[in-house]
């Protein structure tokens, strides 16, 4: 769950948790150490109590004063750990090892034989055998201390007997838990907020760097550079350097993209120029031939008339073509007429003659033509010139202009090599506009798309290549993109 939280929350939260866990660990260890040392402290306290009892009881024992020894034991019982809770008891034994007086006579009755008798299943040494302090450790952790009381001349006149049960040595977890709980609460109250504050302070540079990274590409690079935090921490310095480098590289990339865009624009202008030149150049050969015809046979009235009209329509086509390529120039265009195909054939005849290509045309007009003449003339001119070139020497080119109520279709077949679909698609791409032949086909493809029609390779045709241009037979000049 922690990993799902934001980094800026993870660090303070982690530090706070670390503080809390540390407090708990320290408390637990301290409690265990305290529990371990509790037994040593209890034994040390017992040692002091025994020394005191020996010193105080000696004259009373010598005076055979049971009551005063009892008073002493009763008044000093608080010095014996566990005596108040009846888990420990002390007694003074006489020289024979019998109880002279006990702090708890109910459990250690006056006159009870202790030394030499059995206590909790263990035999205790007799009075004669005990010459120095004995500590009897029971299996359950309880202990029995027996220390002789000697007169000034060294005679044993009695013994101090102290019995402490195991629960006295057991750690008082309730008492240990109280300071531990206070410690943990103090940690929660003071250290955890401090940990949270320190964590926030640590992650603040990271947060600023994240904000800067988010703004890269949207904000000014120079201001972003200035906002990257400077810190003495080597890790944050490396992150800052990386961000500086990232901003710089993105800056360079933006410049490169701008340069590429500019180059692309220049290339587009170049293609436009080439297209205009191509579309103007196509009819020029025929028009020049017409001027030659006019010069040689201009004396003949019908020939001159026909040649001048041809020149006029050819020039008009160039004008319309330019107007189509320049959106801001709008000129009125007339609908296509069957005679336009003858004009186009006349314009390409010179090229066909130079190639020794045999050009034949056919029309199949079933309905009135409503498509713009300039577009179809341009398409027919391009498709025929390409077919003548593709047909090669002594090749055949067959053209068909077909129209019905729905669409106008212009098909050109040549006897040249069969064009594959892949090659056809390559020719239609804008990048191949440098190929004069391909450029004309690309223009046909663009015009077909422009007028809601299609320009495609007839895959079913055999013995050469057959291209089909087809657009709806209606007056609307272009479809909305």
């Amino acid at each position: 769950m922690l990993r799902r939280l934001p980094y800026r929350v993870q660090i303070p939260l982690g530090l706070s948790l670390a503080v809390l866990i540390t407090a708990l660990l320290v408390t637990t260890i301290a409690a265990r150490i305290s529990a371990r040392t509790a037994r040593q402290e209890t034994l040390a306290t017992l040692d002091r109590a025994v020394v005191l009892l020996i010193a105080q009881a000696r004259p009373m024992l010598a005076a055979d004063d049971t009551w005063r020894v009892f008073s002493l034991l009763r008044d000093t019982a608080a010095l014996i750990p566990g005596a108040e809770s009846k888990h420990a008891r002390g007694a003074v034994l006489d020289a024979d090892g019998r109880v002279f007086a006990a702090s708890d006579p109910g459990s250690l009755g006056t006159g009870l034989q202790i030394l030499g008798a059995s206590l909790h299943g263990r035999k205790i040494s007799s009075a004669a055998e005990i010459t120095e302090r004995q500590q009897l450790d029971q299996d359950d952790g309880a202990i029995v201390l027996i220390d002789p009381i000697r007169s000034e001349d060294g005679q044993t006149i009695g013994f101090v007997f102290v019995e402490v049960e195991a629960p006295v040595f057991a750690p008082d977890w309730a008492a240990l838990a109280k300071p531990a709980l206070i410690g943990v609460l103090m940690a929660v109250m003071f250290l955890v907020p401090i940990g949270w504050w320190v964590g926030n302070r640590m992650t603040r540079p990271v947060a600023r760097i994240v904000q800067i990274i988010e703004r890269i590409g949207h904000a000014d690079a120079a201001s972003l550079h200035a906002e990257v935090p400077r810190t003495a921490d080597p890790e944050f310095s490396r992150i800052g350097d990386a961000v500086h480098q990232l901003i710089g590289e993105l800056q360079e990339r933006q410049k490169a993209e701008e340069r590429a865009l500019s180059a692309e624009r220049l290339a587009a202008v170049g293609r436009m120029t080439a297209a205009v030149a191509h579309e103007i150049n196509n009819p020029l050969a025929g028009l020049l031939t017409a001027t030659q015809t006019l010069r040689l046979h201009g004396d003949s009235g019908p020939i001159r008339q026909r040649t001048v009209e041809l020149l006029e329509r050819g020039l008009q086509q160039i004008r319309t073509t330019v107007a189509a390529l320049l959106p801001q120039a709008r000129v009125e265009d007339r609908p296509l007429e069957p005679g336009d195909l003858d004009d186009v054939v006349t314009l390409v005849q010179a090229s066909a003659s130079r190639q020794d290509a045999h050009l034949s045309t056919r029309t199949d007009i079933e309905s009135a033509l409503r498509v713009p003449s300039a577009v179809l003339r341009q398409v027919m001119l391009n498709m025929l010139l390409n077919a003548i070139k593709a047909a090669g020497g002594d090749g055949k080119v067959e053209a068909l202009l077909k129209a019905d109520g729905d669409r106008v279709q212009f098909c050109v077949a040549n006897s040249g090599g069969a064009m594959t679909s892949e090659r056809f698609m390559e020719l239609l791409t804008a990048e191949s506009g440098q190929d004069p032949r391909g450029f004309g086909l690309w223009v046909c493809h663009e015009l077909a798309n422009h007028y809601g029609g299609r320009f495609e390779l007839d895959a079913m045709h055999s013995g050469g290549t057959r291209l089909v241009f087809c657009i709806p037979n209606r007056e609307r000049r272009e479809v909305q993109a």
Binding site: D65, W67, G106
Partner: protein
């Protein structure tokens, strides 16, 4: 501070004197107290001393000791003028002592000795004969109720000291009750007046003990003076003691003492003690 601590305080103070109204130097009476009464109530003794001083005309103070012998020694050496001792030391040292006053307990100059055992110890000790192999607590070697009576009764059931597991002196009747309550001793010989007074005052030690046996009546522990001491204020003190029931303050003090008054008394009151002492070897009165 409880009564025991007060007693210890008084004992530790040596010849400590309870503070009283100021009188001329040398004009004073000192009364020695023993365990025959609960003499560890400093405030009470102060009030009683002030009461007596006003009536006697000299400073009356109290000196407490936890053994009868100590008080007798003080009396013999003239360090105190009056001693409140037991009937047994009185009869034992009658030749050198003068009977000064005898307290009235329930309007009688008599009291009883009790044999007590721990509460709930009924099965173990029903009487003196059951003390064989038991631990017995006495009050003081010069106490009638706390030693002499016990010796007579033990002899009567043919028990000797060595037939007991152990016996010891607790230096006061009150301590006997506490020793039996704590089960330091299986039984104790105690002054019946002290035991009843402790019970009246609600002391815990008495609540944990019960009376097994009560003796016949004996002369109540008297106040005595040294034979021929002749303190000029002694007569005044005696009159003041005897007149205590006649005023409210005196009656209040007597109620605190669980007494009803004082009488001059006669040595004959203590004849029963004397006769008894004569039967006990080591009593100092065996002829």
């Amino acid at each position: 501070m409880d009564r025991r601590n007060c007693l210890q305080l008084l004992a530790a103070a040596g010849n400590s004197v309870i503070g009283l109204p100021t009188f001329a130097a040398g004009e004073r009476l000192r009364i020695g107290l023993t365990a025959v009464i609960l003499a560890d109530q400093v405030a009470f003794l102060s009030r009683w001393g002030r009461y007596l001083s006003e009536r006697v005309g000299c400073e009356v103070s109290f000196v407490a000791r936890d053994s009868y012998q100590s008080i007798l020694n003080l009396l013999a050496s003239g360090q105190i003028d009056v001693a409140w001792i037991c009937g047994y030391p009185y009869v034992r040292y009658e030749a050198s002592l003068s009977l000064f006053a005898v307290p009235l307990y329930q309007d009688r100059p008599e009291y009883q000795s009790y044999l007590i055992r721990p509460q709930g110890g009924a099965a173990a000790i029903q009487g003196w004969a059951d003390l064989r192999g038991k631990v017995l607590a006495y009050s003081d070697p010069l106490s009638n109720s706390g030693w002499l009576v016990a010796q007579v009764q033990l002899a009567r059931v043919r028990l000797r000291s060595r037939d007991l597991k152990r016996s010891f002196f607790a230096h006061g009747h009150r301590n006997v009750a506490e020793a039996v309550a704590a089960r330091l001793a299986d039984a104790g010989a105690i002054d019946g007046y002290v035991w009843e007074t402790m019970r009246q005052q609600g002391m815990a030690a008495v609540a944990q003990t019960e009376v097994v046996w009560k003796s016949a009546f004996f002369g109540f522990p008297p106040l005595v003076t040294k034979q021929g001491a002749g303190n000029p204020y002694a007569a005044g003190l005696q009159a003041a003691l005897l007149a205590m029931p006649q005023d409210e303050t005196g009656r209040e003090l007597l109620r605190a003492l669980n007494l009803t008054g004082f009488t001059k008394g006669t040595p004959a009151i203590f004849d029963s003690i004397l006769q008894q002492a004569k039967t006990v070897p080591g009593s100092g009165l065996v002829s």
